[in-house]
């Protein structure tokens, strides 16, 4: 491939993958099954120059490749309220990736509706929540790839063989124990997962944790929230939820039978205190919006949300981020119309915490996402309140922070 037999772009990309492999100490490359590229957020001219170089040499990705969120909602561009020049550069970046053969998915959760990898697949994935989900919940294998290298691996069809691509490096090295919450409700399980994730990120850094004692009602969407929170507060690429995730049917399988230190023990009080620390305002504080869907809302999350729309009309705008493939299903089954009638704004292709969408940022925004709550105060300069899905919708009705 380096001699250009598969085209100049493939040779160029492979050269970069090989130099990167040298830098991380990988001794060889292996075949890549799938890539997820996070190159659609504009960080300056270099972002665009890199992609345009491959467009000019007529590059094509050699494996199925999905795209992460961009700066603009291409389906509803009128929602963008930021600098027009940045908006235009962001839009070109999104289009150039599609010209290279990437699937225009523009979602941070490509594992939901679109293209779910299989256990054991070798991936070149970017986007911190997707990396954790693929490794932990699916049992596919990827390191924390990111800017440039994800696309280079997709164009070369190869990944460096190091880190989490190798079985030996996927065992838990530390433990986080939760006690007394096995019987929590499905709504509570969402908050417990976020708290567990924040603690795993904070206490374990980049070490793989085995988490024991999560509620029996913990579902895939809760594990998604756990991973996203862990990857926000720490450099987590993988966790094991004992009894719930595929490489951890029991503690022994998760650790490889080795005794590992317990870094945190959490009961009801500790969980409540972590979640209280996530908000920057007190209960009762006035709200200007509710933001859901970070990572992108799944169809099962919409199934939980839709019955709550009976509460409408809401006192503040409700925004939900999701993928365009989920959006198509919502349009097809009439849910989109129901959401619109209730005054809910569905945002696709992007996310309300990375780009200018929410119009009124003068007061606090409430979310059920640990990741949104973690980043929005810094990214958007606003106050946040955290609650379960039921809390957020009751609060949208009340126009202030209340608990369901």
């Amino acid at each position: 491939m380096l001699d250009g037999r598969h085209g100049a772009a493939a040779a160029d990309a492979l050269g970069l993958v090989l130099r990167f492999a040298g830098a991380v100490g990988a001794e060889r490359l292996i075949d890549c099954d799938q890539a997820h590229v996070d190159g659609c957020l504009y960080h300056g001219q270099a972002s665009l120059d890199f992609v345009e170089r491959f467009v000019a040499s007529r590059g094509r990705v050699r494996v199925p490749t999905t795209l992460n969120v961009g700066s603009v909602d291409l389906i509803h561009p009128e929602l963008y309220v930021g600098d027009p020049a940045l908006g235009a550069a962001g839009k070109r970046l999104m289009e150039a990736h599609v010209e290279l053969g990437c699937t225009p998915s523009f979602t941070c959760a490509p594992y939901q509706t679109l293209m779910r990898p299989k256990r054991g697949d070798q991936l070149a994935w970017a986007e911190s929540n997707a990396i954790v989900f693929a490794n932990s919940v699916i049992g596919a294998r990827t390191n924390r790839y990111g800017d440039f290298i994800d696309l280079a691996c997709a164009l070369a069809g190869r990944v460096p063989d190091y880190g989490l691509h190798r079985t030996d490096n996927r065992r838990a090295k530390v433990r986080v124990d939760i006690t007394g919450l096995e019987g929590a409700s499905a709504d509570e399980a969402g908050g417990i997962a976020v708290a567990a994730g924040l603690i795993v990120g904070r206490e374990c850094g980049d070490a793989i944790a085995a988490i024991t004692g999560l509620p029996a009602a913990t579902g895939e969407d809760d594990l998604k929230a756990l991973g996203a929170a862990a990857a926000s507060s720490g450099s987590v690429a993988m966790f094991h939820a004992v009894g719930l995730t595929p490489e951890a049917p029991d503690l022994e399988s998760a650790t490889g039978g080795i005794d590992v230190p317990v870094l945190a023990r959490l009961g009801k009080a500790e969980i409540a205190s972590v979640l209280a620390g996530l908000g920057t305002v007190k209960d009762g504080a006035p709200l200007t919006a509710v933001a859901l869907g970070t990572p992108h809302f799944s169809l099962t999350e919409f199934d939980r949300l839709i019955p709550m729309l009976d509460l409408a009309p809401f006192s503040v705008p409700v925004y939900v981020n999701t993928g365009r493939h989920e959006w198509e299903r919502l349009v097809a089954d009439g849910s989109a119309q129901r959401l619109e009638k209730a005054g809910v704004t569905v945002v696709v292709d992007t996310c309300t915490y990375v780009t200018a969408i929410i119009r009124d940022l003068s007061g606090a925004v409430m979310t059920n996402s640990g990741k949104w709550a973690y980043y929005a105060p810094g990214n958007l300069g606003i106050d946040v309140a955290f609650g379960t899905l039921a809390d957020t919708m009751q609060s949208a009705l009340a126009g202030r922070v209340v608990r369901a």
């Binding site: 970069l16 996070d38 960080h43 120059d49 170089r53 924390r144 800017d147 440039f148």
Partner: protein, 140 residues
Amino acid sequence: MSVRSLVHGQAQGEVLRLGEPLSFWGGFDSSTGCVIDRFHPQHHACLTGKILFVERGRGSSSGASVLAEALRLGTAPAAIILVDDDAIIATGALVAQMLYEIDCPVVALGDREAWQRLSTLPRLSLEAGAEGVKFTQPAG
């Protein structure tokens, strides 16, 4: 652990040592070349043209884009000397080399004491390649 050249090249300049790891994304402004992380002990320090001693990177992989952009704009450090390997910093420098033929050698010393010792010199020249890394102290 031995000294490794993660990104090859030559550089020389004034030495600047950062007291804490730096995230180029969110912590560094590519348009000015300065540290903008308000929690960093060297907030406002200018890294342009320096032989930058930083133990390791941290934070988002978008740091690679920010470093590549700084190299394009000419606001980046002349070289980066780490203790440990850092994939994000290496990527930013490799991409700038590929796109703009600008060299910013990145070296991992693998030894904190050697890193500290070198970082006390006022100026440094280095040549980093596949065969190893050569440091010299420029005259004057």
